[in-house]
Structures are given as structure tokens and as C-alpha cells.
Amino acid sequence: MPKVTMTVNGMAVSGEVEGRTLLSDFLRDDLGLTGTHVGCDTSQCGACVVHLDGAPVKACSVFALDAEGAKVTTIEGMANPDGSLGVIQKAFQDHHGLQCGFCTPGMVMSAAALLKENRKPTEAEIRAYLDGNICRCTGYHNIVKAVLAASGQDVSRIAAE
């Protein structure tokens, strides 16, 4: 089997994979990084979003071999260096932006990608950007609120307080 080498969360890793092995499977099964979740087999739920060379991708739609030499960041790489929750992660906790937690890694990774390209997104921009991430628990209310809060915007006036 061919060998693939990449950098995941700052660590150089390599493994032998089949040509059909998906990046999501390589992360989960070969590297044991099970924070990246697979919620569908049609690249639509967004639970598996990771950053590939800085850009958000659905890891179930990338072959592991296509990530040769790439820099990959997963949810396990999002905490602060001291191990505490990063700003976006903390905002999700503070605003109850997760329930069962299954879509959460993908949500956080998509939110991080959004905030990198748009530091102060509006509610509508957040909702549009997260269109590719399905959550069945939260009704998105608290997710959108968490992303607004993570971008430093005042969420105290949003309904349901």
C-alpha cells in the first residue's frame, strides 16, 4: 500500500493507506483522532470538516493520498496551547452551542474558517456560511450566537435571554 505523509495539528505523521482511504478514515482509524466525525456518506452533513492547508474541507470527500504533504488541523488542534478551550470553543460552551456534540467538531472548524475570512460576520452571513453543517439538536440559535460572541460582538440583546 502507498505511504502518505502529512502534518496534523503540528505533528508530522505518516501511514500506509489504500487508494480509496478517505482523509476522515485516516484521521480516525490510523491516527486515532476520533474528534472528526462522519455523519453522512454524501459530503453534506459537515461533521467531518477539518482545515487542509488552512482551508475548510469535508474530510470525507478528500482521499488521504491527496493530502500528501499538507498541513491538516482537526478539532483536536483547536485548544489553546495550555490545553484550555480556544476562543470559539469557549463561546460554544458559554452560549450552549452544542447538545449531543456530534456535529460540534465540524461546526467549530467551519466557524473558525468563517472568522478567519470575516472577522465580524453578521447573523445572516453566519447562517449562510454554516449552511453546509447540519445540526439536529440546537436549532442553530445558540450556534449562531456563539459565533457572534466569538467574533467579539454583543449578543446580550438576542432573544431568549
Binding site: G101, R127, D131, I134, T138, Y140
Partner: protein, 790 residues
């Protein structure tokens, strides 16, 4: 300032840290040394007779360890229905066997008829594709009315037709209701479809079976909302494993919404395969399998009649419903369209005469069972839609007609004509709250603004009531339940004063680890950080029934309170011994035991330590240790209720509906954690709005599921929904459980669909489309636009 801990505090959730770090442990994250992988072969036709299944080529493929077919399980038990429901004529319901793997016939697309176990998932999948099955397609029974009309095509050959039962509730009321409707000055009749839904928890189902040949012990790690119920079903009913030789573990579970209550054949297969192979066997569903083979929800076709006086006073309600149970009876499939539906048909109202008839029908579709709300959304939708139409016909404001008929606070406890006794409520107060938070007074101005944009704005209002806190065993036993629905908790106090609470509830998103700790912390006057909530493992927790039916806090939480109170009683005895006082003179407050009328006291920690260092205990009268278990069986259901308002904008050019605002005023009784409660309501609203606007499982006439992926089944996305306005300040505490709580998990999904549909119909009427009386859900642009065309 809100409290910062204990009951009522909006504490952030402790479980979030692991989920946000990617350190949750969902079943598919678990890998057991030496595990093999199972892949299922599923029927591609809705109905067919299974001939020869040729596995020879597959068996020789690399890595293949075993192949199973229905033949391997023909002598083990079936997966049973949990409730017995009799027909009106006294005949018992029909219960065809639901096998581990289809045997003889396949009965729906996705029905598993074989399984391959191999060293790797890819090898199992490759081999599955090499199996050749001779399946002779039979005419599919898909449409319920046709299934009833034409019993020639039968889902189950051994049954005389496709009806499971024909249930009347309450049969003795029937003649009186018929007479009341005949004599009524006004009758509104409505034909409704409660659309079939697919639960779609984001984590697909998964199971790992293990067998230890040395001890004969089995272990099942699985995506379950109720590990003990799963253990009972798979061990005692299906495989015949002694219960004490099987441990069921449901670790972190990524949502359930009902679909993970039930035992499924895949769980039995991985256990049987593990036993045969002597090694662990793992299966994880692909999303396609979830669509095809998870239990679906709703799927009712209903005729409802509401008889009223000219002033809108309700006289009678009569319904006739066809409810789809799919190809096999799933565990709660018989109770959902009956006792969880018919008993709510009086709603929040004084309706002296109510009669409900439900025929459940077998079809060649996936099994249908309880999905968030389970029967109560169907009842609410029927009642609240017909009230809206009646109000329009009678020229009465839709809020006013509801107010005129509310059961008033002085009438509780109130016995309905459909068998429930509501203990408490204040429907007028929740409506008042709704009118305020929804700013109903400002609607006209908002409508004018929408009109300037060329959009039709409408306002829809409705109420709901649900029976939850499932369930009083005495009552449900009398109604046909084959299980009790109590729950249990064990409180173990450690020598250093911290606690492990073992609960029968299962958290798959509800935040029990946080909220239950708040309950105990309040009771004991100690910090939440000293309390661990243990759930989901039958080898650790007492026998409990899991989480569904908004029962976790009301039933399992009550068991925790009872066990904690036993702890306090025992600790008082220890404290009394330490202080040389009589136990009845010892008072416990804020984590401190003191002798009434003296300055003597010992703190919580000292008593806990003493319990485990009992050097001078009188052992005949005082046992060492501090651990107590309580079983709690509720005296009644709980009755959360509320009033919801939705505003929509309809684009008259396309029929597209946009939710402009949604407000929910709920009465959940007492609240332990408002942050979690609001989150539960938001999620329920999204599912209800999804049902009303976007979601719907569609089978074609040959029984193919057309909506079998996220491309085709329209889950609500972030940009389909607004920020919600939710309020739970109207509180009439439950009168019969120790916390006064009612449960909040299902309310949003129960109460929201009629508000959306009422709003759309209102928008169309205000826009001049007065010929539109009703549109079936989901209100997709094409349906709305088509209805607008005269």
C-alpha cells in the same frame, strides 16, 4: 442576578469540554483489540420473496470470516412490540415476528437479509457485493388506504389483511360523540396528513459485540437511549442470553430523538457473530442505512371533526386516523399512535365529547415509531389546525376562540374525556405571555412592512399540551404496556465526601451530567464539582428505563432526589452518633449537620469519612457506608403546556415561505437549568419547523425511498431558521414529583408545526387567497404556490 449554581442556575455544561476538544467517546470511536467488521446486505426492493442466497464466491474473498442470513436466526426470538393494543371488536393486535435478518420475505427497501463479517470494513463491503441473492419482487403495499382496501397484497402472508389493530378511544364515548356532532350548530371537518419524518440524529447507529469465551460474558456497545431496555430485548427476547451475562454500554450518543430507543437487528447480529467468531464485531451505519432502516416517525392520515356552538364553544371532537407502522412492529410503534396520541385529543380545552379511532396499517416501508413528541405532535396538529379553520369559519379571532375554551386554573385536577387527569396548568397565563413576547400588537405594522416588500405576512398561533414524564407504571400497565416505566438511581458517597450518582437516564445531548449534579448539589449544599453523574452502562447503573418522552428529570431526576433523601437520612444517623444525639434532633442544612437547639455540629465531609471509618459504630443499629438506591414510579404523567406564535412571509411569486419570527411561551413547571431548557426548546422548534416546511419522507408507488440522502431529505439548515423568542416564566409546578418539574424535551417539536401552517394559511387569506383552507406539510414552495392557483 441569577443563581450561579444549584437549581435554577444557567450553568454551562461540563460535558461540553470533552465534546469541544474532540474527546467524546461515541460508539464508532471505540475500537476493540481484534475486532472484525460487519456489513449488511439490504433489500433493494420493497417486497420480495427470498430464494437462494448464493454466498460461495463471497465466502472465498480476502478477509471474510463469516456470512449470516435469515436462516441462521430462524430459531431465535423476534424483536417484540412493547405495548399490547386491542382492537375495538376485542380482537388482539397482530404481531408478526420481526426477525434479526429477513427470512422468507424482505418487507421494505433496506430490510437486512444477510451480513458479512470480515477482517476490515472494506473487505466486508467488497464481499457483500459478491453475494448473489435471488429475490423475487412482489407487488409493494405502500399507500395506507390501498393497503386497507386491498388485502390481497399482504405485507405479512400469515395475516388476513394489513391492519395491525383498529382502536377506539374511548369506545364507550362513541355514540355520545356521534350524537353531539349530529346535533351541533357548526361542524368543521378537516383532512390532514401528518407527514412521515426521518429522525436523523447526526450520529449514525453503530454497535460492537464482544464475547468472552472464558467467562461466557457478552458486551454490547451501542447507540442507545436506554441500555437496560436494549439489554432486556436483545438478551431475554431475541438471543436468549441470560441478562446477567450481557453488559450493554451506550457511551456518548450523538442524538436520538426516539430513533435510538429501539432494539434493532444489527445489535443482535454483532453479538451472535462475536460469539461464533470468538472476537469482537463492529458495525457502523452509513447515513444511507440510517435513512432506510432507522425507525421513521409520524405518518398519519386523519379526518378530524370539531363541533362548536356559534360562539365557538367546543362541543365535540371526532377523529379517524390511519397510522403507518411500516413493515414490522418496532418497540413503541403500537403505543405511539394510540395512547400517546388519542389521550391528548382534548388539548388544552374543555371538550365534553371526544372520540378517537386509529387503524394501524402494515406497509412495505421502514418501521415507524416514536419520534420526538411521538403521537402528541400528531394530536396537537389535528386539534390546532381544525380550531384555526373553525375560528375562521365562525369569524372569531384565533386567540379568542382558544381562550373561550381553555380549561381554567380553578378546574385542576381536570379529567378529560380521553382518560387523562391534568394535574395543573394555566393556559390563559401562557397565552398572555405569548401575546407579549411575540408582540402580537405590532403584527399589523410588520405586515404592512412585508407588504411593501411584496410579501404576504401571516400570523399563526396555537397551543399544545403533552403528557410526558413517561410514565406511571400502574396506568400504562392497565393500558397494555409490557414494561414498567419507573426509573432508578444510586447515590454513592465516597469517604472523602464526593459523590457518584448512577442514573437510569441516558444523556444523548440533554446535559444530564450538568443538570442532575445541580439537583443533588442543591439538596446537599455541596458544590457540583464534587458530583459525578454516571450513566449508560448496565454494569454500573441500576435498572432504569433510559431517556425519551421528556422523562429524564421528571422520573429519573425524582429517583435521584429520593435516593439523595435516603442518603441524608442515613447521614443524619451517623451525625447523631458522632454528636451523641438522637437522629430526630439532627438537622441538615447547607452541608452541615447540627443538633437542634445546641451549637453542636459536624460537617458533610466529617460524616462521609465516618461512614467509611466506622470505628465505634453500634453495628446492630448502624451500618457502615453511605450508598442508597431508590426506584421512583410517577403517580401521573406530567403536563407541560404552552402557546406558540409564528410569523411567516410568503413570496406570492414562488410560494416560498420564510419564518419571520417564532415565539414560544412554555410552562415546564420548575426549571433546573434555564440554559439547557432553552436549548431543548430551540431544538424542538427546529424539528417542528422542519416538519412544517422542509422535511418529508417520500416513497414512490413501488416502495423506493426517494428521500434517502441529505440531497433529497431537506433537513433544516442554519439559514432556514431565525433567532427564537422563548419564555418559560409561566410556571405551574407539577404537583406529584419532588422537583415540581414537567419536562421540556419534546415541547418545541409538538407545538410548532401548527403555528407554521396556521401562519401560512393566514398569510394567504390576508393576501386574498381565501380559497386556501389547508395545505399538507411540508409547505414547500411548489405546494404553497400550487394551492394559491385557483
Amino acid at each position: 442576578m441569577p443563581k450561579d449554581h444549584g437549581i435554577g442556575a444557567p450553568m454551562t455544561r461540563r460535558e461540553d469540554v470533552r465534546f469541544l476538544m474532540g474527546r467524546g467517546t461515541y460508539t464508532d470511536d471505540v475500537n476493540v483489540q481484534g475486532q472484525a467488521h460487519a456489513v449488511f446486505l439490504r433489500s433493494q426492493v420493497a417486497h420480495g420473496r427470498i430464494g437462494k442466497i448464493d454466498t460461495r464466491a463471497a465466502a472465498k474473498m480476502p478477509g471474510v470470516l463469516a456470512i449470516f442470513t435469515g436462516e441462521d436466526f430462524k430459531d431465535v426470538g423476534g424483536n417484540p412490540a412493547g405495548w399490547f393494543i386491542g382492537s375495538r371488536d376485542g380482537t388482539p393486535m397482530r404481531e408478526p415476528k420481526r426477525p434479526v435478518l429477513a427470512h422468507g420475505k424482505v418487507r421494505h427497501v433496506g430490510d437486512a437479509y444477510a451480513a458479512v463479517v470480515a477482517e476490515t470494513y472494506a473487505q466486508a463491503r467488497d464481499a457483500a457485493e459478491a453475494i448473489v441473492a435471488d429475490i423475487r419482487e412482489l407487488p409493494a403495499v405502500v399507500d395506507m388506504a390501498e393497503a386497507v382496501r386491498n388485502p390481497k397484497n399482504r405485507v405479512h402472508d400469515e395475516l388476513p389483511d394489513n391492519v395491525c389493530f383498529d382502536w377506539g378511544w374511548i369506545e364507550d364515548n362513541r355514540a355520545k360523540v356521534d350524537a353531539a356532532i349530529r346535533a351541533a350548530p357548526h361542524v368543521t371537518t378537516l383532512h390532514l396528513v401528518n407527514n412521515r419524518l426521518i429522525p436523523n440524529a447526526m450520529e449514525p447507529r453503530a454497535s460492537i459485540g464482544e464475547y468472552n469465551p472464558g467467562t461466557g460474558d457478552y458486551r454490547l456497545t451501542t447507540t442507545s437511549q436506554n441500555p437496560h431496555l436494549t439489554r432486556l430485548l436483545v438478551a431475554a427476547f431475541v438471543l436468549g442470553i441470560p441478562e446477567h451475562k450481557l453488559t450493554v454500554v451506550a457511551p456518548d450518543v450523538g442524538g436520538g430523538f426516539g430513533s435510538k430507543i429501539y432494539h434493532y437487528g444489527e445489535e443482535a447480529l454483532v453479538l451472535a457473530a462475536a460469539r461464533r467468531l470468538g472476537r469482537p464485531v463492529k458495525w457502523t451505519a452509513e447515513r444511507s442505512e440510517s435513512f432506510l432502516a432507522d425507525a421513521h416517525g409520524r405518518d398519519h392520515v386523519t379526518k378530524i371533526e370539531l363541533a362548536c356552538e356559534k360562539d365557538g364553544t367546543f362541543i365535540a371532537i371526532r377523529t379517524e386516523t390511519l397510522a403507518n407502522v411500516g413493515a414490522y412492529l418496532s418497540n413503541f410503534s403500537t403505543v405511539t399512535p394510540t395512547f400517546l396520541h388519542g389521550t391528548l385529543m382534548a388539548g388544552n380545552y374543555r371538550v365534553p365529547n371526544v372520540y378517537v379511532n386509529v387503524k394501524t396499517v402494515f406497509t412495505n416501508t421502514a418501521p415507524v415509531d416514536a419520534y420526538r413528541g411521538a403521537g402528541r405532535p400528531e394530536a396537537t396538529f389535528s386539534i390546532e389546525r381544525v380550531i384555526d379553520v373553525a375560528a375562521r369559519e365562525l369569524g372569531i379571532d384565533p386567540i379568542e376562540i382558544r381562550r373561550r375554551n381553555f380549561i381554567t386554573p380553578d378546574m385542576f385536577p381536570y379529567t378529560t374525556p380521553v382518560g387523562l387527569q391534568y394535574d395543573t396548568g394555566n393556559y390563559g397565563a401562557t397565552m398572555d405571555r405569548l401575546v407579549e413576547i411575540a408582540d402580537i400588537a405590532g403584527f399589523e405594522q410588520r405586515r404592512a412592512e412585508s407588504a411593501r416588500k411584496g410579501l404576504l405576512r401571516g400570523l399563526g398561533v396555537n397551543c399544545y399540551i403533552e403528557a410526558c414524564g413517561i410514565a406511571p407504571s400502574n396506568l400504562v400497565g392497565a393500558l397494555g404496556a409490557r414494561v414498567g416505566l419507573y426509573d432508578a438511581a444510586t447515590v454513592r458517597v465516597n469517604a472523602t465526601g464526593n459523590l457518584s450518582i448512577m442514573t437510569g437516564a441516558h444523556s444523548h445531548g440533554q446535559g444530564h451530567e450538568t443538570a442532575f449534579a445541580q439537583v443533588v448539589a442543591e439538596r446537599l449544599g455541596i458544590p457540583e464539582s464534587s458530583i459525578e453523574i454516571v450513566h449508560g452502562d448496565t454494569s454500573k447503573i441500576p435498572f432504569g428505563m433510559g431517556s425519551y418522552g421528556s422523562r429524564s428529570l421528571a422520573v429519573c431526576g425524582s429517583a435521584i432526589v429520593r435516593a439523595t433523601d435516603k442518603i441524608i437520612a442515613k447521614a443524619k444517623k451517623i451525625a447523631a452518633h458522632m454528636m451523641e444525639a438522637a437522629p430526630e434532633d439532627v438537622e441538615f442544612r447547607d452541608g452541615k449537620f447540627s443538633v437542634v437547639g445546641t451549637d453542636k455540629s459536624v460537617d458533610w465531609g466529617a460524616v462521609c469519612l465516618k461512614a467509611y471509618v466506622p470505628h465505634n459504630f453500634p453495628h446492630e443499629s448502624l451500618e457502615p457506608g453511605l450508598e442508597e438506591t431508590a426506584f421512583y414510579d410517577p403517580a401521573n404523567f406530567t403536563y407541560p403546556a404552552g402557546a406558540y406564535a409564528c410569523e411567516v412571509e410568503v413570496d406570492p411569486g414562488t410560494g416560498k415561505v420564510t419564518i419571520a419570527s417564532f415565539a414560544a411561551a412554555d410552562d415546564f413547571g420548575n426549571i433546573v437549568n434555564p440554559l439547557i431548557v432553552e436549548g431543548q426548546v430551540h431544538g424542538g422548534l427546529a424539528q417542528g419547523i422542519g416538519q412544517a416546511l422542509t422535511e418529508g419522507a417520500v416513497y414512490d408507488s413501488s416502495g423506493q425511498l426517494l428521500t434517502a440522502s441529505y440531497m433529497d431529505y431537506a433537513m433544516p439548515r442554519a439559514d432556514d431558521l431565525p433567532f427564537f423568542r422563548v419564555d418559560h416564566s409561566c410556571r405551574t409546578p407539577c404537583t406529584h414529583n419532588p422537583l415540581g418539574v414537567k419536562g421540556c424535551g419534546e415541547a418545541g417539536a409538538i407545538g410548532s408545526p401548527p403555528a407554521v401552517v396556521n401562519a401560512v394559511i393566514d398569510a394567504l387569506h390576508r393576501g386574498g387567497y381565501t380559497h386556501v383552507r389547508h395545505i399538507d406539510m411540508p409547505l414547500s414552495p411548489v405546494r404553497v404556490w400550487s394551492a394559491m392557483q385557483r
